[in-house]
């Protein structure tokens, strides 16, 4: 096994504890960091990859933030024709705002309404619309979220402070294939007359996954 060496954390102690309560701290393993560096240097040395290609990958990843998703939602809130184009093809609609979603095969926007509330999960791994929103939050990748979201979505949302009436259909969407999902939350009351920029500022990352809903709060200065 390639994963059998180089890691010195307690094998004997951990073995068989499938539902241990110590979810690992992301990034806490120096052994993994070292192996990453070793593999990177060997791949570059052998000409399999260039250092520039790796640097481009880092640049791409850090250039992707939920701000992109928030801009898309804010535009959809103020422009019904844009919203229709977004629901028809989210990659094309993102492109209209200068956001390049090429790295995702297919992106689908799910509109939350008075009748249906979408909540996105990836039970098998951590599929996420990275091209639009950046890397997924740690909680999205956690074993607990992946296990619980499909079976008790209302309890999971309640932990995020979201309570929905029983007459709203909670629709969990499990990203099991090449489709990446972004939620278009409902525009909150109290935002009449807000500018697109002010609206974008209340569209949080977590609302684009569906665990929370945007709230009006104070208009954000731009």
């Amino acid at each position: 096994m390639s994963d059998g060496h180089g890691h010195d954390h307690g094998h004997d102690h951990d073995h068989g504890h499938d539902h241990d309560h110590d979810e690992p701290v992301e990034g806490a393993l120096p052994a993994a960091a070292l192996r990453t560096r070793a593999i990177e240097s060997l791949l570059v040395e052998k000409g399999v990859l260039t250092a520039e290609a790796v640097a481009r990958g880092v640049d791409w990843l850090v250039s992707r933030t939920p701000t992109n998703g928030a801009r898309i939602v804010a535009r959809a809130w103020v422009d019904p024709a844009y919203k229709q184009r977004l629901l028809a093809d989210a990659k094309v609609a993102a492109g209209e705002l200068g956001i390049d979603a090429a790295q995702s095969v297919t992106v689908v926007a799910l509109e939350n309404t008075a009748a249906v509330h979408h909540l996105v999960v990836c039970t098998l791994c951590s599929c996420y619309p990275r091209a639009l929103l950046g890397p997924p939050p740690a909680w999205y990748k956690s074993n607990a979220y992946r296990s619980r979201a499909v079976v008790e979505p209302r309890a999971v949302m309640a932990e995020f402070g979201t309570e929905l009436p029983a007459e709203v259909e909670v629709r969990v969407v499990d990203s099991t294939a090449d489709i990446r999902y972004i939620v278009v939350p409902r525009r909150p009351a109290g935002t009449d007359g807000w500018s697109e920029e002010q609206l974008a500022a209340i569209v949080t990352r977590d609302s684009l996954v569906g665990v929370v809903q945007p709230v009006a709060g104070e208009p954000v200065a731009v």
Partner: protein
């Protein structure tokens, strides 16, 4: 076989050997085709160095929570939707 939106389907109970994108919790369950995404490379061969061909039709399939989990605590109208490849589905 081409499935159409609105059609009832059952998910096959095949074993999860190799690399499979059909989660255990929907196997053997009945749902409804809610959309057709087109054809995508087959992950079951792509995962082992293959080319994923022939591409497989991919569907957006909706399930009632109460059909998946007998003791589902929420309203009976709550649902789960997933993307499933045609070779994991049969007409119900």
């Amino acid at each position: 076989m081409t499935l159409a939106t609105g059609q009832r389907v059952r998910v096959l109970e095949g074993p999860s050997v190799g690399h499979v994108r059909t989660p255990a919790y929907v196997k053997g369950k009945q749902g409804t085709i809610a959309g057709v995404w087109g054809s995508y490379g087959n992950p079951e061969t792509l995962a082992f160095g293959g080319d994923g061909q022939p591409a497989r039709p991919l569907y957006y399939v909706g399930f009632r929570q109460t059909d998946l989990w007998p003791d589902y605590a929420g309203p009976a109208t709550d649902t789960v939707y997933l993307d499933l490849y045609e070779h994991w589905l049969e007409e119900a």
